[in-house]
């Protein structure tokens, strides 16, 4: 399965690799910006994992190891583009300007999705595996119907998914629809090698990128631990979509260094040696080596980014701990756009029931 051609612009040791079809055109500032993104999101992710361990989040789905895939894809998106994430796209959320405290709040279980999708052109997280790929396809079809494609300022849509999701009917239907309607869409599949405990060979006998052509969609495999290649490949696919040239499927070949979620125990299903082998391909140390070797950044810069990431993580923690619990009656809000009299009665009866305790407490004083 690993024999499939994989686009790479940086070797695991940080050497720049030439590729005939893909390249990046960054200035020094932009190169350094990507490093900042990678470090900021890794540090935030570590803080979120710690918050869960301390009982402050109900759950956390760590992105550890997948930073380059997400930052590459997230930075390739133009402001007008629309992203449909899974529940692990914290790096993409960061790139889309979502307040990371709003990412934490869903995992703290104080809400079911906090940010305004229209404000960031990023849909809410979807937990049911693969469902969002159909939403992304429909959204992209709408973009095409609106005529918002066909130029360099056209709108592209990106559907995020994982390796496990490719087995879901919904994802296969999304691929059918996107192919048939030539939707201006990019499927960005992070193959992190595991769907909870199941390695990718439980889902497919061929490379995931190799499945796309059967749907009439070009498939590209990129080194998901290489931020430059992830960016370049995604940018090309997004440009293809925005120009009206149809959908693409990207398999970002990466590795989930941590647990599926904080409820998971990966030592039950994979060897430490496998994890160690992927550690050697770490997306951040590779990129840091590249910056250093090319004189794009020095120790002062790295220290400064570490300090900023630390401060950002601590600020997120503080804001997370300050998130108020939802008011009891708020669970009745927003069930319907146009209201429901029976539900309003149910809420009122329950409010009266809650008030009866207040009366009792008053009487006890």
């Amino acid at each position: 399965m690993s024999e499939f051609e994989m686009v790479q612009l940086l070797s695991p040791t940080g050497e720049r690799v030439h590729h005939g079809d893909y390249d990046v055109d960054f200035n020094d500032e932009e190169y350094r910006g990507l490093y900042r993104d990678l470090v900021m999101i890794r540090r935030f992710d570590a803080e979120a994992t710690a918050l869960q361990r301390q009982g402050e989040l109900g759950l956390w789905a760590p992105l550890l190891g997948q930073e380059a895939a997400q930052i590459g894809a997230g930075r390739a998106l133009a402001p007008q583009d629309m992203a449909f994430p899974t529940y692990r796209e914290h790096g993409v959320a960061f790139c889309r300007g979502v307040d990371l405290v709003q990412v934490l709040s869903m995992f703290r279980c104080v809400d079911l999705g906090a940010w305004n999708p229209a404000e960031h052109n990023m849909h809410l997280y979807t937990i049911v595996i693969g469902d969002q790929t159909l939403h992304a396809t429909g959204y992209a079809m709408g973009v095409a119907k609106d005529g918002a494609i066909g130029s360099a300022s056209g709108t592209a849509t990106m559907a995020f998914l994982g390796d496990g999701a490719t087995s879901e009917g919904a994802v296969n239907e999304a691929l059918v629809w996107a192919g048939v309607f030539e939707a201006p869409l990019v499927f960005f599949c992070q193959n992190n090698q595991y769907a909870i405990s199941e390695s990718t060979d439980h889902q497919t006998r061929v490379p995931l990128a190799g499945r796309a052509p059967g749907f009439g969609i070009p498939g590209i495999r990129v080194d998901g631990n290489d931020v430059l290649a992830s960016y370049a490949v995604t940018k090309a696919a997004l440009d293809r979509a925005r120009m009206g040239e149809g959908p693409s499927f990207i398999e970002a070949f990466t590795y989930r260094m941590g647990a599926h979620t904080t409820s998971d125990d990966p030592t039950r299903y994979r060897e430490g040696s496998e994890v160690d082998a992927w550690k050697a391909k770490d997306p951040i140390s590779r990129y840091r080596a590249f910056l250093t070797n090319n004189g794009l950044a020095d120790e002062d810069f790295f220290d400064q980014i570490d300090a900023e990431a630390e401060a950002n993580a601590i600020a997120a923690r503080t804001a997370c701990l300050a998130l108020p619990d939802p008011a009891p009656l708020s669970l009745f809000d927003n069930v319907y756009a146009n209201g429901s009299p029976p539900l309003e009665r149910q809420r009122d009866e329950f409010a009266a029931y809650l008030d009866s305790f207040a009366d009792t407490e008053e009487a006890a004083k």
Partner: protein, 325 residues
Amino acid sequence: MSTMTMGKALNSGLRTVLDNDPKTILMGQDIGKLGGVFRITDGLQKDFGSARVVDAPLGEAGIIGTAIGLALRGFRPVCEIQFDGFVFPAFDQITTMLAKMHYRSAGKLRLPITIRIPYGGGIGAVEHHSESPESYFIHTAGLKVVTPSTPADAFAMIQQSVTSDDPIIFLEPKRRYWDKGEIVEDSNDWSALHSARVVREGTDATVAAYGPMVKTSLQAADAAASEGRNVEVIDLRTLAPLDLEPVFTSVRKTGRLIVVHEAPMTLGLGAEISARVTQECFYSLEAPVLRVTGFDTPYPAARVEETYLPDLDRVLDAVDRSFDY
């Protein structure tokens, strides 16, 4: 006799059915090496092999659809759906295929498939991990739906379900997985699978509950006793087909009935029970049948789930209101 958690009791019951019948196979996501996200199948793949304890691709419709095919070929599949909120991609296979095939083949085909689903809330989980979807399945003719409330029932009922020739939705009250109870492992002197049971005798009011709410109702009955009210509690155990005779008998004695479930009120099982008790026990009722249920909203964020879920106070309040008539 040994003491074990409900999770271990289910594991032990599954081990027994795998031992007893080589055609019984387990299928689900992460049920092999990992032993399931709740470890209900822990160790079973190691002991019975990956051909009989199958880590399925990540597709719920695929799990149920291929289980139907395997059953047509003479196998007895036991499927695990990882969480209640993830069953819906398989809803078509369950309700339009699995439920109807015996009927449309005029009895020629049998589909002895058990679908295990951890359900219900109270564990502080994220969205789609706390739902009570039983009404969809109860409403579908051809499916049977059962749910244990104790380790002993879990141990017996999983074996009875797997050996039944009907498709059975086996709902596991996930927040009670860690509750302990006594189990006689080498006995099969069990209640019939589709039977309800009085779990606490009383004379003043009847509370009917199932799955996770049985424990809550028993706690409420204890609290009511301290206020001088003697509440009878019935564990329904089987939701389809319903066994309502014990409920009718109880209501004829107490004159008052409260039905408790986590699922939303509208068209929940409480509605059906209320209608049938009203019909059968009309002249015995001292008060209308009351319901204590989840609200008619989506399952809320877990930080407010204690408000959504029926609790001891809400059950007690309903008992009190029942005496106001």
